[in-house]
């Protein structure tokens, strides 16, 4: 019986039982639906086994949106609990679990896949390639991420969620203070997703370095591709730290090692140290692609080429290097001396310089531009002032002496939300709206889109500006309640209203997707925004091979050249195209990884050993497999091209 007790929720509540039932019903509904409509074969052939970067991008997008709502529900519950003093909606344990999962879901399972979605879909198109360098590895990346996310998400109905914060600091996350399997889920699920991310990093660096269209030198790449290159370089250098760290954490929790214990020579703060060695670059992994999106959107809708291309590239490269030099600012109060803190203070404030360069470049791009305020542009314009609030408070937090006042208060929470929401979330929503027509062949409704942009922007300010004040007054983060005499009540009520507004804004986006799917015109041009770079030069919907003839490029705005300066984008004639074959191995291997992770979480050793063998068998099979891909003949290309042109 003891064995089965571990699977029970240590701290159940009606809400959790309700979600168990809901998850059960959803799974049954999905299986029944697929069977009834006979879609299993379609699902397997077209999606589960696909290696097409566009479809993988769309799958990332769907996962990211699902996780956005999971994390969003957590956020609403937290703000509801704090809305009034001494609220009894959640108890301390539930609150701990919710703020932990909110952080992890939003960063690792929402923001990361959202970025991967746009990167996967856009980068190969933007550089004029037919797929990524390693298409099958790309599929494996996605499925590992997906299985990691699913493993993490079942934690709240089987065995209990992690509750030591998204940073999972030891010794709190050690077995002594976190007995349930929750923190095991944290270690293993993020490990699985992290391996996928690392593979993506390698894949995209190779793609961008080796597969650019003829004529596209590094300094002629569109800005989103540049930001992706820099981001993936950061991924490759930062994620190994996380991999090793999670492994050490797993060893501490499951095998009784003493890396992060307070006794036997362990060093508990070493976890925090290494966590942020990965964690701070991770911040830039999130923000740089977002900056890339803004660069694309702003130059498209200001109808001007991007101001200061070289300084944009230079500042990103400098940011990527500086991002590795600042991590100690996350724990200035740990007890290191003034000298150490000063060093990291200076490097931290230095990052504001290249970031400022980028902001001014965007402003100069807008200067004297013929600005057209579409939904993506509206997000970009709302981003600049709101992000600045977050950025400037970041410099305040970066001053180590002052940080003793702000550390671990709502001020910090307000700061990083004011950076991440305008920085990443606005950018992803802008990117979603901007690339939607290329992905799905119709445009999202502009009117509803603008409403949601305004509602989200105003609600962001409403939700997080009050936290600056309550934080300065001393409201600590991660506290599940507070007394009325503290006077935090009104601030938190305003925050709750803002959070509710955000929920309305996101619901409106969902409604927009529904509305546009039903009513939007399917008769749109391949280049509906009158944009400048290569991804708009191919048909909508994009054929499997992306470009029938590889484009010839002379500048970072090849399509604009073709439209305005008579540049010949597609010289030459059709030739047969070599494409990769689909494969079920990545999906199957990731499913094995899921079982592997689950066995690891609950220390069930026999299945763990079997699945480990299974994983190696999958890798071995790949080594001996002869798969040379297939060719698309000239006739097929002609037929496809004629159909698309007619449409």
């Amino acid at each position: 019986m003891d064995f089965f007790n571990r699977f029970a929720i240590p701290h159940p509540s009606p809400a959790i039982y309700a979600s168990m039932v809901a998850i059960g019903i959803t799974v049954i509904a999905v299986i029944a639906g697929l069977t009834y409509f006979k879609k299993w074969g379609y699902l397997w052939r077209e999606w589960l086994t696909t290696v097409d970067h566009k479809r993988i991008g769309i799958m990332y997008l769907i996962s990211a949106l699902l996780m956005l709502f999971r994390g969003g529900v957590d956020a609403i519950m937290m703000r509801a609990q704090l809305a009034v003093p001494e609220n009894k909606l959640l108890d301390a344990q539930h609150y701990n679990e919710i703020f932990t999962t909110h952080g992890i879901v939003m960063i690792i399972f929402m923001a990361m896949p959202f970025i991967m979605a746009l990167m996967n879909f856009v980068v190969p198109l933007q550089i004029g390639a037919r797929d990524v360098a390693f298409p099958r590895l790309n599929a494996l990346s996605f499925w590992l991420f997906f299985m990691g996310a699913m493993l993490f998400n079942i934690s709240f109905i089987i065995g209990g969620s992690p509750d030591a914060g998204w940073t999972s600091y030891f010794p709190l996350a050690g077995t002594e203070f976190s007995e349930s399997v929750g923190s095991n889920y944290y270690m293993i699920a993020i490990q699985i997703a992290g391996i996928g991310t690392l593979m993506t990093g390698i894949n995209f660096i190779t793609t961008i370095l080796k597969m650019r269209a003829p004529g596209m030198t590094l300094m002629k790449m569109p800005m989103f591709t540049w930001s992706s290159l820099v981001t993936n370089a950061i991924i490759v250098f930062a994620f190994p730290v996380l991999t090793v760290l999670l492994l050490m954490g797993t060893m501490d929790r499951l095998f009784g090692t003493h890396f992060f214990t307070t006794t036997n020579g362990g060093m508990d703060m070493l976890w925090a140290n290494f966590f942020w060695v990965w964690g701070h670059p991770e911040v830039y992994i999130l923000i740089l692609p977002a900056f890339g999106i803004y660069s694309e959107v702003i130059s498209t809708f200001a109808r001007r080429n991007l101001y200061g291309y070289k300084s944009m590239v230079g500042s990103m490269v400098i940011i990527s290097l500086l991002s590795f030099l600042v991590w100690t600012h996350h724990f200035f109060t740990m007890g290191q001396g003034a000298l150490t803190n000063s060093i990291f203070s200076i490097t931290t404030m230095a990052i504001a310089v290249p970031t400022g360069v980028k902001l001014f470049n965007w402003l100069f791009t807008l200067w004297k531009g013929k600005i057209e305020v579409t939904t993506p542009m509206l997000y970009a314009l709302l981003f600049i002032p709101t992000f600045t609030i977050g950025g400037v408070t970041g410099v305040m937090l970066g001053m180590s002496a002052a940080d003793y006042q702000y550390h671990n208060t709502m001020f910090l929470v307000a700061h990083f939300h004011m950076v991440i929401i305008p920085g990443v979330v606005f950018a992803m929503l802008a990117g979603l709206t901007y690339y939607w027509p290329k992905m799905f062949g119709f445009m999202l409704n502009e009117k509803i889109g603008k409403w949601s942009a305004w509602i989200i922007a105003i609600s962001t300010l409403l939700a997080f500006i009050p936290m600056f004040f309550s934080g300065l007054d001393g409201q600590a983060r991660r506290m599940y309640t507070y007394s009325e005499s503290t006077g935090f009540g009104p601030w938190n009520m305003v925050s709750f209203i803002g959070a509710a507004g955000l929920a309305v804004g996101f619901a409106l986006i969902v409604y927009n997707i529904y509305y546009s799917t039903r009513y939007a015109s399917r008769d749109i041009a391949a280049d509906p925004w009158d944009a400048r770079s290569l991804e708009w030069a191919t048909h909508t919907p994009v054929p499997a091979y992306n470009f029938a003839i590889l484009p010839q490029v002379n500048s970072s705005e090849a399509l604009w050249d073709a439209k305005k300066h008579g540049h010949e984008l597609f010289p030459g004639k059709y030739e047969k195209i070599h494409m990769p074959n689909n494969s079920g191995v990545p999906f199957i291997m990731s499913c094995i990884f899921f079982v592997w992770g689950f066995s690891f979480v609950f220390s069930i050793w026999i299945p763990l050993i079997l699945t480990t063998i299974g994983i190696f068998v999958c890798m071995g099979l790949r080594s001996f497999e002869k798969d040379h891909g297939h060719y698309i003949t000239v006739d097929e290309i002609k037929e496809t091209e004629n159909n698309l042109r007619g449409a």
């Binding site: 370095l209 070493l270 140290n273 290494f274 060695v277 590795f324 030099l325 290191q336 150490t340």
Partner: protein, 94 residues
């Protein structure tokens, strides 16, 4: 004959054997912990460099620029991480 004989690889092999011997000597000689660890670290890094350049042909294709940029960048990040951590956790810790 000179073109056929892989002089560089043979010398590299001899050199890496030499490095291994030096590293092994740490076990047999009665060195202090600091001395031993330093010796191991230094020989390990040289060993890795030899393998990379001589046997994994890091500089022999037109990708050499990209490969060396990666290696140096990785080295800088690793050194910053290690020494930064030492600074935070030990030297700068009061």
């Amino acid at each position: 004959m000179k073109e056929l004989f892989p002089m560089k690889q043979v010398m590299g092999f001899v050199f890496s054997l030499l490095l291994t011997t030096v590293a092994l000597a740490v076990y047999f000689l009665d060195l202090s912990l600091t001395m031993g660890m330093t010796l191991l670290l230094v020989t390990a890094f040289i060993q890795a460099a030899v393998q990379l350049v001589v046997f994994m042909h890091a500089g022999e294709t037109k990708d050499r620029g990209a490969i060396y940029t990666n290696v140096y960048y990785g080295l800088i990040i690793a050194l910053v991480t290690v020494f930064g951590t030492l600074l935070c956790m030990i030297w700068g810790y009061i």
